[in-house]
């Protein structure tokens, strides 16, 4: 489930090929392809008419995926601030 969300987040801003998606979600090619098929079936993503084929988030879902993207942003968890002493 988390990987599906990560796929949606990775293609939210810009359509991506399956190889580009695979690099973002750290899955094998086969696993990525399976998840993409599942997301197409669930009508969450669509194939762009481009070569090579790229995938993008359905327009009506973009707002909700933006919220997911915000939640799955781990930047503050790996910031350099000292989290106890507030330096």
């Amino acid at each position: 489930m988390l990987k599906e969300k990560e796929i949606l987040v990775s293609i939210l801003d810009e359509p991506k090929t399956i190889e580009e998606i695979q690099l973002k979600v750290f899955l094998s090619f086969g696993e990525t392809r399976e998840l993409i098929r599942k997301l197409i079936k669930e009508k969450k993503i669509s194939r762009e008419k481009s070569f090579p084929v790229k995938y993008s988030v359905k327009k009506e879902l973009r707002k909700s995926i933006k919220e997911i993207k915000r939640k799955l942003d781990w930047t503050e968890l790996v910031s350099d601030a000292c989290f106890v002493c507030d330096y």
Partner: protein
């Protein structure tokens, strides 16, 4: 006279690090690794452990990270639902990592929370090992 004495005391306090041979940046970085080690350490008192059930007591962030990955959905939903997030509260209030606790509170799915804790624990471990 007291005014000057207080002023000198304040100046000494503010510039103490200069006379120890360390600059502010080095001092902050040293503090950082101490804080990281504190966050990784086990909770001292058994009253403050996180009890998943009568037999499993979680004593540290590392143990929480391990348990979150293996926990069954039923146990998870007892602690995280629409009304509460026990893990987030424990991390913020007992462990003391308010950044992680706040992030966990925004998340509701087990795999998301597990990933957040894993990322944080790995970062804290690197921080503690680097001995800034």
């Amino acid at each position: 006279m007291k005014f000057f004495e207080d002023l000198i005391k304040k100046l000494k306090k503010e510039t103490k690090f200069l006379f120890n041979g360390m600059n502010t940046y080095e001092l902050q970085r040293t503090k950082g690794s101490e804080c990281a080690a504190v966050l990784l350490s086990e909770v001292k008192h058994s009253d403050h452990y996180f009890y998943l059930d009568s037999s499993i007591a979680i004593k540290s962030l590392c143990e929480l990270s391990d348990h979150l990955q293996e926990m069954d959905a039923e146990t998870f939903s007892k602690h995280v639902n629409e009304e509460k997030n026990d893990f987030s509260a424990w991390v913020s209030n007992t462990i003391g990592d308010k950044t992680l606790g706040k992030k966990m509170n925004e998340l509701k799915e087990q795999d998301e929370i597990a990933k957040a804790v894993e990322i944080r624990v790995n970062y804290i471990k690197r921080r503690a090992q680097n001995n800034y």
